[in-house]
Symmetry: C2
């Protein structure tokens, strides 16, 4: 108590890199910052950690406030704590990445923010160290997705193998052979084939699949190896 009070105190924030997939491309959700400094510049969605919440709580709160979504896949990435990363006052920020089904997202009418999806490779420059955060998040997403079946979080409940295929190619920025991909993904036993087809993409149509949630949750730690010649 005596010692503690002599120590410096800092602001603690969270920043979320929100990934989404529109069926063709990997995207991230950015907002126009609602407070000074750098007001109206593009940034990650974030906020300060309140007195009665953990950083995880704060990230979920921010995410809900800005997207309306709850129960989103959210993973702590790392802390950003260079002394002068925020020019106004020392602020440490916990970086999170989130995966959401882009179609579930409905823009919240929030007076403080404007949110917009950007193609991952055509995003504007961001404030502070947010560009670095995005780069780190992308790397981590790639790493994680190569080993764990998390990319399903970005797809609707019913999805097709070609959709999944494109998503994996987007995330890893590489071409993946359809035959080998299909073999691997089905051999995980995580997919359940549905009788319906998605006819929007082709004449033949592609069968819908859904996740076997029991196996997914029991086995979300299982290692996959869906990217050939993986070099993370």
């Amino acid at each position: 108590m005596i010692e503690y009070s002599r120590q410096p105190h800092y602001l603690v924030a969270v920043d979320c890199i929100v990934f989404g997939f529109d069926g063709e491309h990997l995207k991230i959700l950015l907002v126009k910052r609602g407070l000074e400094p750098e007001i109206n510049k593009w940034s990650l969605m974030g906020g300060f950690v309140g007195p009665d919440e953990s950083p995880d709580d704060a990230a979920n709160r921010v995410l809900k406030k800005m997207t309306g979504l709850e129960g989103v896949y959210l993973e702590q990435m790392q802390i950003y704590g260079e002394p002068h990363r925020d020019p106004i006052e020392r602020t440490l920020s916990v970086g999170y990445f989130a995966l959401i089904d882009i179609h579930k997202y409905e823009a919240q009418l929030n007076d403080d923010y404007e949110a917009e999806w950007f193609l991952i490779n055509e995003r504007p420059k961001l404030i502070f160290d947010h560009n670095q955060m995005v780069a780190d998040a992308r790397k981590k997403l790639r790493y994680k997705a190569a080993l764990h079946p998390i990319l399903f979080e970005m797809l609707p409940k019913k999805f097709t193998i070609p959709q999944l295929h494109i998503l994996f190619e987007e995330v890893n920025d590489t071409k993946i052979d359809t035959r080998n991909f299909s073999r691997k993904i089905t051999s995980t036993g995580l997919l359940i084939k549905l009788p319906e087809k998605d006819k929007t993409g082709s004449k033949k149509g592609a069968f819908y699949f859904k996740l076997d949630k029991k196996k997914y949750h029991a086995n979300s730690q299982a290692f996959l190896n869906l990217v050939p010649n993986l070099k993370v």
Copy 2:
């Protein structure tokens, strides 16, 4: 600036889980806490993040102060930020795990702390959420070590295959076939065989190896798969 000042400020600390290997068992280094509350209880080594340093800097500083070692393998784990994890005042802590060569460690004569090595499975109860941190660190060490060649950091410059073998078994808490292990570890191309032998362990003696540092640094991201039937 206006907005910022209304936000609450917190203490930010770092805590380090220091892993070491004595040739037989995996150990962690604990200290007797030097300040109230819980003074003289066993805890992880930690400290507050100073005004001119990042959390990474702070972790390195703490580690040097308590072990005398610099350039230690140190990896950010996650942040611990439950509102009441510290009973005195809200403190967020960034957890790190460190890997050191136990033989390099020389106890620092530090008036504030008593440090001691404990077998990982025979450690005392720790303060606050430090027990959880150790559990998390162990899990992360296991995960990381299955995919990346980081365990070398816990061995002397010259080491033998049997030593490495025991270390992998300790970390993964499993038996690993010597023939398959040897095949895999040598096929990485990371080891250079030395002409000398370590005679301390057996009559025949075991050849020393050293790391091919060029390959190690160029390739420390390379995936290994040294643990059979890996389930992380």
